[in-house]
Amino acid sequence: MFVAIKDDETTYIGVSSKEELCDMSEADYLLEDNLHIAKIAGQNAMFAASGDFLTFQVLTESGKKYMKGEVNAENIVQELVPQIVKINDDYDRYDDKGRADARYAVATPEALYEISLNLSVMQTNISASVYDQLAKGVYLFTEGLPTPKRIVEVYKAIEQFARFELFPISIYDVRTGKRKIYKK
């Protein structure tokens, strides 16, 4: 799952797949191949996924430059979403209600976008792939803290309510592309 927050300087994306990749050593869990986040080739932007991660992996490992235009809401709708739909179709990623079980975050240092389950695109300052309202509550009550610390607090809150472990988490600064690991 991901938790992304945009502040005045940059956007940070936290990722954890521990609830999906259980029974795994911590070293394996923290391998970057196993974290569902990737830099968008040719752009100062990152792309994260949560849920069914096949489509994300096929897209990010395709070797294609999958966002040619500037990363903004319009181009996400016109360029990225159709590719997600195509892969979802190719691999029949839909449940009985016709929905693919994956959410995505697309972030530049200046903006954060969320692609929801129904593949609609929204610009936001905070996006959490699960427990969205809880995350927004923690976000509101942690104003003033450094942004990575706010993300850590969101994960801690979600861990308390969900019955799975999420830590250690990796938080990426989209501006620098650098990753920092946070343990509880």
Partner: protein, 194 residues
């Protein structure tokens, strides 16, 4: 019941799998190479699959062409996702084998190894990379902590035998024999659980 063990040490991946299954109450010992739950390709790729549907597993593992190395002779994350995963998906789809939980899936995951590289194609077709160990199959939750506890001075394949022995104390259908192979010598060896 079946369980697959895999363990990575010194750039070698070790596989271990029990070879007995129970079909209609009858014990069946699959210790002949054509029906072992591990495929060894000519390029030295090992592919293993726990139970699920026995005949599907045997058919899948009789198609080594589904598991090619990349042009540099490596098994990479990219190669799995861009070549092996689509081929396996097509193989399942053509035979109408894809199950449905929430989305299309295989009834059992696949472990794929070459040199020191170990990957899993999960039932939902997501790909995961391992540098430590992985156990899949019915009693994998029992085997995983045993794999984590293997000490560096111990022989991996002997330790697999110990794990199967410990597990057989709780699950008699683990059986008396298991097969091991590693990506260095690529020899499938059937051993007794002692």
């Amino acid at each position: 019941m079946s369980v697959l063990l895999s363990y990575v040490r010194d750039n070698v991946v070790y596989f271990g799998a029990n070879v007995m299954r129970i079909s209609s109450g009858r014990k069946m010992d699959d210790s002949f190479e054509p029906v072992l739950p591990i495929l060894k390709t000519e390029e030295g790729v090992l592919v293993a699959r726990p139970d699920g549907n026995e005949s599907r597993g045997q058919e899948l593992l009789s198609h080594p062409e589904l598991f090619p190395l990349d042009k540099n002779g490596k098994l990479t994350f990219k190669q799995i996702i861009t070549h092996i995963l689509p081929a396996v998906y097509r193989f399942y789809k053509e035979r109408n084998w894809l199950g449905r939980e929430e989305t299309c899936n295989m009834e059992a995951p696949l472990l794929i190894a070459h040199d020191g590289d170990l990957f899993e194609i999960c039932s939902g077709f997501g790909v995961v990379r391992y540098r430590s160990y992985r156990s899949v199959g019915n009693i994998s939750s029992m085997c995983t902590p045993c794999l984590a506890a293997i000490r560096p001075e111990k022989d991996v394949e002997e330790q697999f035998g110990t794990i199967f022995k410990k597990c057989s104390a709780y699950y008699e259908d683990i059986g008396d024999r298991f097969v091991t192979v590693n990506t260095k010598d690529l020899t499938l060896t059937v051993r007794e659980v002692k």
